[in-house]
Amino acid sequence: MRYCDKCGVTIAGEEARCPLCQSMTLPRGGDSRPPFPDVPTLYARHGLFFRILLLCTVGGAIACLGVDWALGFHGWSLFVAGGVACLWLLLYISIARRRNVLKALTQQVVVVCALGVLWDLCTGWRAWSIDYLLPAAFMSVMLAMFILTLVLRMPSEAFLIYLLLDMLFGLLPAALLAAGLCRNAYPSIACVCVSVIAFVALLVFKGGAVAQELKRRLHL
């Protein structure tokens, strides 16, 4: 204990200065334990790693732009820069959603597909993004969620909404097929079938839980 004769208050712990007026305190026996534990300010532990990664990737992209410019600008360096931006976007989602793996997967599949379609558009539409990327991404995320929930032993309620969302995404190739945008129909057909089968399986085994989860999530 200490005492501040300016404020006239007793101060718990061994404070050299009064917390109220910051003047010197006088000793006064008793308990010396500080009233609150000292918690050091935590700076991001992985800060250095990310800074180096940022410098390397951004530096590399700028170097490519420079080389491209020096060789009379063919535009390939813009793709390198775009690739770096995509990498950081996906990294950001993984870190921001690290506590909720399924949500991260759901957001990432949307971003990956959107970026894929964008790349395809920018490189002279060859339809590879909707022919192969979309079906493959949706099916692999469905599989990944199924394995994750088994391995991490998640309660069924935790993954239902994300699984349902991904199945809805899985029906998107059907719309693209109907619109006649696909050049190779087989992967899209496979994706739609897998989504429908997964949905039926979910209804058969977890029908009640699905209905309740939807009721909770959609309450007005």
Partner: protein, 417 residues
């Protein structure tokens, strides 16, 4: 098995969209015992208390239109205090909305405000301490300690009393004037500056009575005067306003362990009236008397309830609702400078009193908050700010020592390292 779930109560709806690094919306109740805490019986007591209070099992989730509470599945764990006071509990995923920690002889209960208010949290902490002391000292159980005086079924504890007492009748309320706001340097990472002061409850009551006031009125008046004395001259054109949360369980029949509170704003215009303690006390008493009528409280309850029942507001998806709620909260919160919450006298069975030293309460805030509670003759006043400056607190506690009260200060170091 079907999971239980529940809508957020009316007061809680504002907390999830508006809580973040700057204002975690977490408050802490702590109980200091007379001997060091033993974590093992504390964990067992916690698991028993969680059975008594089903709402503390809930986790917060996002729906398409609203946030909601869903029964969670997590073990009862206690750990040694290792974070700054009132650090964030809700991170946007299904984790417990409260935490029990210990430090030396102190047991801390930190609660996210969407789960419950101070009254609900206090009932939980009292049950926890009661069960802990009975496990820690089996001889007490042999002598037969009377049960806690909290009479409420599980259904009553889960009750959404805002919904129960919503009648739809209301008059339009004019928004209050924009109040003076404290400014200054802030500690790193939006940490809270916590300064708890204890004084004799009977001594303070005696001084309040001498002025014909209650403890809350006296403390509110001192706080108004201290804030006014510390502000720069150019900021004098705005009124100083202290907002006081009101426990609605006293006015409407309810034993809910969830949120059921309202607030009243007490302002004082220092340009038009004298800055003497007597004058401010008289004004605070008069404002409280006018605001604390059942009609005025019911009007406010209905005004808040009408917003969430607005069909347009209901059908807006949550990701659009969040920024709107954040903005309207920022605008609404401009009408007060600081907040004063008196939880009042805490009762514990007489046989347990030798093991208890005091209770403290304080709350994370972007402004300034003073939370008061009393155990026996120890009145605890917990100041929190997210400012480095301690000038208002210094004036406040010097005003108490000037009344010949013995004050002991317990402070943290938000700025260290």
């Amino acid at each position: 098995m079907a999971k239980n779930w529940s809508r957020l109560d009316n007061a809680a709806k504002i907390f999830p969209p508006t809580s973040g690094k700057a204002d975690t919306r977490v408050f802490r109740f702590s109980c200091t015992l007379t001997e060091p805490v033993d974590p093992e019986p504390l964990a067992r007591a916690l698991s028993d208390a969680m059975v008594d209070f089903p709402s503390f099992r809930y986790v917060l989730k996002r729906g398409l239109f609203w946030y909601y509470l869903e029964e969670g599945d997590f073990p009862a764990t206690v750990c040694e205090e290792d974070a700054p006071p009132c650090a964030a509990l809700y991170h946007g995923f299904a984790a417990p909305l409260f935490a029990v920690t210990y430090y030396g002889a102190r047991v801390n209960l930190e609660v996210y405000h969407a789960l419950t208010d101070a009254t609900g949290a206090l009932q939980f902490l009292r049950t926890l301490i009661y069960r802990y002391l009975l496990l820690r000292h089996p001889e007490l159980a042999r002598d037969g300690v009377p049960a806690l005086d909290y009479d409420a079924s599980r259904g009553q504890r889960m009750d959404d009393s805002f919904d129960r007492y919503y009648s739809g009748k209301r008059r339009r309320m004019a928004p209050g004037p924009v109040a003076y706001q404290l400014r200054g340097l802030r500690p790193p990472q939006w940490r809270q500056q916590v300064i708890v002061g204890t004084a004799s409850a009977s001594g303070l009551l005696q001084r309040a009575r001498a002025m014909g006031a209650t403890i809350t009125e006296l403390l509110a008046a001192i706080l108004l005067l201290c804030i006014d004395a510390e502000r720069p001259l150019r900021a004098r054109r705005r009124p100083v306003v202290v907002t006081i949360p009101v426990n609605l369980r006293k006015y409407f029949d309810s034993a809910s362990a969830r949120n059921f509170f309202s607030v009243v704003n007490i302002g004082y215009d220092f340009r038009a009236h004298p800055a003497t303690l007597e004058a401010v006390v008289a004004s605070v008493r008069e404002s409280l008397r006018r605001a604390l009528t059942p009609e005025a409280l019911e009007n406010r309850l209905n005004a808040l309830g009408a917003l969430e029942r607005n069909p347009f507001m209901r059908a807006v998806p949550l990701f659009l609702k969040d920024p709107v709620m954040r903005l309207s909260c920022d605008i609404a919160e401009r009408d007060f400078t600081a907040s004063l919450s008196n939880v009042g006298r805490i009762t514990m069975p007489e046989a347990l009193m030798p093991f208890l030293e005091r209770f403290d309460v304080y709350c994370a805030t972007r402004k300034m908050q003073l939370c008061v509670c009393t155990l026996g003759d120890t009145l605890s006043m917990g100041f929190t700010t997210s400012l480095i400056s301690t000038d208002v607190q210094r004036r406040f506690f010097r005003a108490l020592t000037a009344m010949d009260l013995d004050v002991t200060i317990y402070a943290n170091h938000p700025e260290s390292r």
